[in-house]
């Protein structure tokens, strides 16, 4: 998307009162990532949209990294006509942090249609980040048409199978999983037998005191299966992580922040840098939310989600800083 057109006001084709300039001014909810800090072996996640309220001293940790997600490069509909600008805003926010994160994690849907030029644009914007290392996992949009071949050529060097891998940073074991390939009709996200076997072997020799961070695109907990927001065989994956005292699971896909604790596992989903999606069951479908500019302000700082399905309420961890 040509940068010199950034401030151009587009016509209001959708009659929704959104023009490009007004939109960019009001979309502080977007262009956001999450800063993750390991403190005493426990991961805490802070929404970048609240960075102005942060108390840097309280947030100091052993290791910090930033998670960005769902940049959907190539998307150009009313919900966000300039996803390049909002991804760049996310990178600018990360670059402005007092303590730079060690690296960036991108939890998938890098592109909208898996087109080479979409990946190119993201790569170019991410080269502007002070943190030079970026770790990826693919989203379902990144593997359209070729089951992830192009994705792996670009981002999957040295990875296993469909693109899964693990690495160590300052004593923390990171595991990138792929749950968007070989999806079955009627099903959810899928890890598959080969990846599960690899995962079991990957963590077998680790000490139980090792902090583990797992990241994948589609949530590894059942957020809202009716919309496909879950992974069919995630329970088996999590069963291999039972011995660890601290497990953090980071996902994207649902374009909103949710957190949940279950035993030794803390689950986090990240906001999208591109466009918001509705809360589970609060719309006809999980499609992009087109919200008028004045309502976008109201979306600022939303970190809690009160989701109640049947009798089962999700516990929410509020990462809000006082």
């Amino acid at each position: 998307m040509p940068q010199n057109k950034k401030d151009e006001i587009l016509h209001d084709h959708n009659h929704d009162g959104i023009d490009r300039r007004g939109f960019l001014k009001c979309m502080a909810w977007a262009g956001t990532g999450a800063l993750c800090v390991m403190q005493g072996g426990v991961l805490k996640s802070y929404s970048m949209s609240r960075a102005s309220e942060w108390n840097a001293a309280r947030m100091a940790g052993d290791l910090s990294f930033a998670q960005i997600s769902d940049s959907h490069m190539g998307f150009n509909k009313a919900a966000n006509p300039d996803v390049a600008a909002t991804l760049k805003a996310a990178v600018d926010k990360i670059n402005a942090l007092a303590v730079q994160p060690e690296f960036l994690l991108h939890t998938g849907d890098i592109s909208h249609l898996a087109r080479p030029e979409e990946f190119d644009t993201v790569d170019q914007i991410l080269r502007g980040a002070v943190a030079k290392d970026v770790f990826f996992v693919p989203g379902e949009h990144d593997v359209i048409g070729d089951e992830g071949k192009q994705y792996r050529e670009r981002y999957g060097k040295g990875t296993m199978g469909e693109g899964w891998y693990s690495f160590e940073k300052k004593g923390v074991h990171f595991i990138g999983l792929v749950n968007v390939v070989n999806l079955k009709a009627g099903g959810l996200g899928n890890l598959g037998g080969e990846q599960l076997e690899w995962l079991e072997a990957d963590v077998k020799l680790l000490k139980a005191s090792t902090p583990v961070v797992v990241f994948a695109h589609i949530p590894l907990w059942s957020v809202y299966p009716e919309w496909g927001w879950g992974t069919d065989d995630s329970a088996q994956a999590l069963s291999y992580l039972k011995k660890f005292g601290s497990v953090s699971v980071l996902n994207g896909h649902i374009h909103q922040i949710m957190q949940k604790v279950e035993g030794n596992v803390t689950f986090h989903t990240a906001a999208s840098t591109a466009f918001p999606q509705p809360q589970p069951g609060k719309a006809d479908s999980p499609g992009p939310m087109k919200v008028p500019a004045e309502q976008l302000r109201g979306l600022l700082g939303i970190t809690d989600v009160n989701f109640v399905r049947g009798q089962h309420a999700l516990a929410i961890v509020d990462s809000q800083l006082g």
């Binding site: 249609l113 379902e140 593997v143 359209i144 048409g145 999806l183 009709a185 299966p225 499609g287």
Partner: protein
Amino acid sequence: MQKKFVRIGVSALAIALLGMLITAGRVGGTAAAQEKAAVTAEVKIDNFSFGPGALTVPVGTTVTWTNRDDIPHTVVSTDGVFKSKALDTDDKFSFVFTKAGTYPYFCSIHPKMTGQVIVQ
């Protein structure tokens, strides 16, 4: 005279035969036209679902899917019979069903989205 009569007879026969051929042709043409008029059907993709979810069509029908969501979808036969590319907003995909049977399909990137075409 006799020769002439025979010639007329042959001509009459030829005309009769021609008439039969024309009639046959017309009948065939009508059938083809009817078939042609009935050989297309539409499936719309709205709000992450295929509509109609189950579509029943005669053999020879061309089914066209249109994505009306702001998010791309695909149309992929569960049994590997057909497979669309990514359909962005307003993109279409068509497939001609030449054999009777039930053809389940889904969106390979949102697999909760399923549908079927029943060809009779």
